[in-house]
């Protein structure tokens, strides 16, 4: 991410002085962190104490799509057919979760917009039907509100780029409906060669409305270009370290370093395929990302209910304390754990909001079309 005051397009704003937006106002880090656990206690006891104050914000869940095939379910009581329900989210000390909107494979853009509306509708209906445990959230503030009410905050996204139907008006409408994360894959303007001109305009408009870019599975040229163009932090909703495990969505060290410089967020998936078969493997990835990208740029992505196998002892959403205990046992500082589980996601949500607020003072809604820019 470029600094907010570092406007890449000053010519668009003639005759008005750019007022630098103080970074301190954007990044609210806990200035004096008060430890919440006894350093001499067992790691699992400490993990529960830390998570009680700094619960997990889980970057990726496939739950709404998984529920589609169930004729009947009750997430309040417990639902063994899926990896997540309210009792297990509570046991896992999850405070917020991103629900991915799955588009049917056959949708190559033809009906993707309507399918996205249906997925959003389904996700909202599931949340509404379980309002004792879940609450929809659109911003860092609403996430905090949900937590203060003892509810798990549900954020909508990521959705694939096909959801836009190549239209910035659709982007704005989806944002209005509550979509907050968009994955920059699966569209003509974000392919193997990088972003097209329209693709760059999409990123600028995402910044303007407060839609966060997800770059897991995006091509390296797209990742580099978005890191340069985006004024808000990006996230990788499902990416571990390629240095430890080769997988197309895992990030090589040089990209992890770029993510660290841009203050993005690499959310490590709890899947055997990407991170490895044990808790220790996942912790190795978290160690590595923390070292290369930095402690403020690493997060957790349960990736539950997506069909993949999970590492031992991390079979469902109730298992986060076991992972946190592993990290504390390895000597992770409590402040770093707090950033990993909760603080970093809150920062990204807040910065996306601030960036949008600033951009809306400067730019009207974009009327660009893909025909105009990409010919």
């Amino acid at each position: 991410m470029a600094d907010l005051q570092d406007d890449l397009h000053p010519a668009a704003e003639v005759g008005r002085i750019d007022e630098p937006y103080p970074r301190e106002a954007v990044i609210v880090t806990p200035e004096t962190y008060e430890p919440v656990s006894d350093p001499d206690a067992e790691p699992l006891t400490r993990a529960h104490a830390v998570l009680a104050a700094h619960p997990v914000a889980d970057g990726y869940s496939g739950l709404p799509w998984a529920l589609r095939r169930l004729p009947w379910y009750d997430l309040d009581l417990g639902e063994s057919a899926v990896d997540a329900d309210v009792p297990r989210l509570r046991k896992g000390q999850v405070g917020a979760v991103f629900w991915s909107l799955h588009l049917p494979e056959a949708d190559d853009g033809g009906r993707a917009v309507g399918a996205t509306l249906e997925q959003l509708d389904l996700a909202k209906a599931v949340v509404a039907a379980h309002d004792e445990g879940l609450r929809p959230a659109r911003s860092a503030g609403e996430v905090a509100d949900a937590r203060n009410c003892g509810r798990v905050a549900v954020l909508f996204g990521p959705a694939g780029a096909a959801a836009l139907g190549d239209s910035l008006g659709v982007l704005r409408s989806l944002h209005t409906l509550g979509l907050r994360v968009l994955t920059l894959t699966g569209a003509s303007w974000a392919g193997a060669a990088g972003l097209t001109r329209f693709g760059e305009e999409v990123v600028r408009e995402m910044n303007r409305v407060g839609m966060i870019a997800n770059l897991s599975y995006a091509s390296a040229p797209v990742i580099r270009r978005v890191l340069a163009v985006s004024k808000a932090p990006v996230l990788f909703s499902r990416s571990a370290a390629r240095a430890l495990r080769p997988h197309p969505a895992n990030l090589p060290d040089e990209l992890l370093a770029d993510v660290g410089r841009a203050k993005g967020l690499c959310m490590v998936p709890l899947t055997a395929e990407q991170s490895g078969p044990t808790v220790r493997d996942v912790a190795d990835h978290l160690d590595h990302v923390r070292t290369v990208a930095g402690p403020e740029c690493v997060g957790l992505s349960g990736t539950y209910d997506t069909g993949g196998a999970h590492p031992q002892e991390l079979a469902d959403t109730s298992c986060y304390p076991r992972l946190i205990a592993e990290l504390l046992g390895r000597g992770w500082d409590e402040t770093e754990v707090a950033l990993l589980t909760w603080g970093n996601v809150q920062r990204v949500l807040r910065e996306a909001h601030f960036t949008a607020h600033v951009a809306q003072q400067r730019r009207p809604p974009s009327t660009a079309t893909i025909e105009d820019l990409d010919g």
Partner: protein, 392 residues
Amino acid sequence: MTSLDQARELLREFPVVDGHNDLPWALREQVRYDLGARDIAGDQSAHLHTDLPRLRAGGVGAQFWSVYVRADQPDPVPATLEQIDCVRQLLARHPRELAPALTAADMEAARGQGRIASLMGAEGGHSIADSLGTLRGLYDLGVRYLTLTHNFNVAWADSATDEPGVGGLSAFGREVVREMNRLGMLVDLSHVAATTMRDALDATSAPVIFSHSSARAVCDHPRNIPDDVLERLPANGGVAMVTFVPKFVLQAAVDWTAAADENMRAHGLHHLDTTAEGMRIHRAFEEAHPRPVATVSTVADHLDHMREVAGIDHLGIGGDYDGTAFTPDGLNDVSTYPNLIAELLDRGWSKADLAKLTWKNAVRVLGAAEDVARHLQETRAPSNATLASLDT
């Protein structure tokens, strides 16, 4: 005091709720949503029927902005979201003049503030792509009515201007109506076949609207409402919003349009052909046969009849400005509603009657739909029905 002065005074207290205005479509077609290129804060009479000064002059207090899109495209949903986005941008650009409105209470609040309550209506069932989830998405985005069809049938409802298909509403069509009732989205029966009107009146538990339709007994055109349907409005509680479109309201214009279409076909062209050759033939016809002109009185005749059949509590106004190329003499753009009110005053309509016509009836109907929705939501969950599950 002339009746025009009286009309203006009346409209200051009870302004017009207009059921249908196609400004978003005009902005899409003319300038691809470059709202600065058609700034409605100033005079746009060279390009549009609608701008803010003329809405003010016309005494408009609430407007249902149509988020119409063409039905003859593979996927109408993205375009519909773009149209909705356009309305939201208009609201963001003109916050002092336009008030976002989702409810009857919002409409009353806007009237109190002297702003124009802005609501949205989707014109045609094609905009929901046979999906109740998409219908709910449009509701969440602020759409408060859905016209069940536009000029062509959808899989679950017949249009007034297409061949009979399912013979009114199919089972899924009735489910669409029920789900709209549950949401509090008004069922709009303009553009639909009379069979669809009757089926929808049977299926609905909330008042319906006709966002822009006139009386078929006065002018025999399928876009207008037959008397047997108008007669059902008192029991339903709905409102028929009279439209001004000359080729629907004036019999001579209906006949002229039919003759012009026949002339095009006689030249081997489609009647809506807009190629240079088609336009030339059409212009030649128009020179030989001058286009009949509707007037304020033509529209008032419809209202007199609709009042007789449906009653004063079931009338409203839906001009279809910027959705029609031609307008009646004296009702040329959105500044001209006072001419219609003056004409009705001259015909002996009381101030209380006119307050119902312009404001009270339409606001009552939206409020009633909200009440029905609140009630239904206590007992009914969102419907998961699909076209395939009900109509095969």
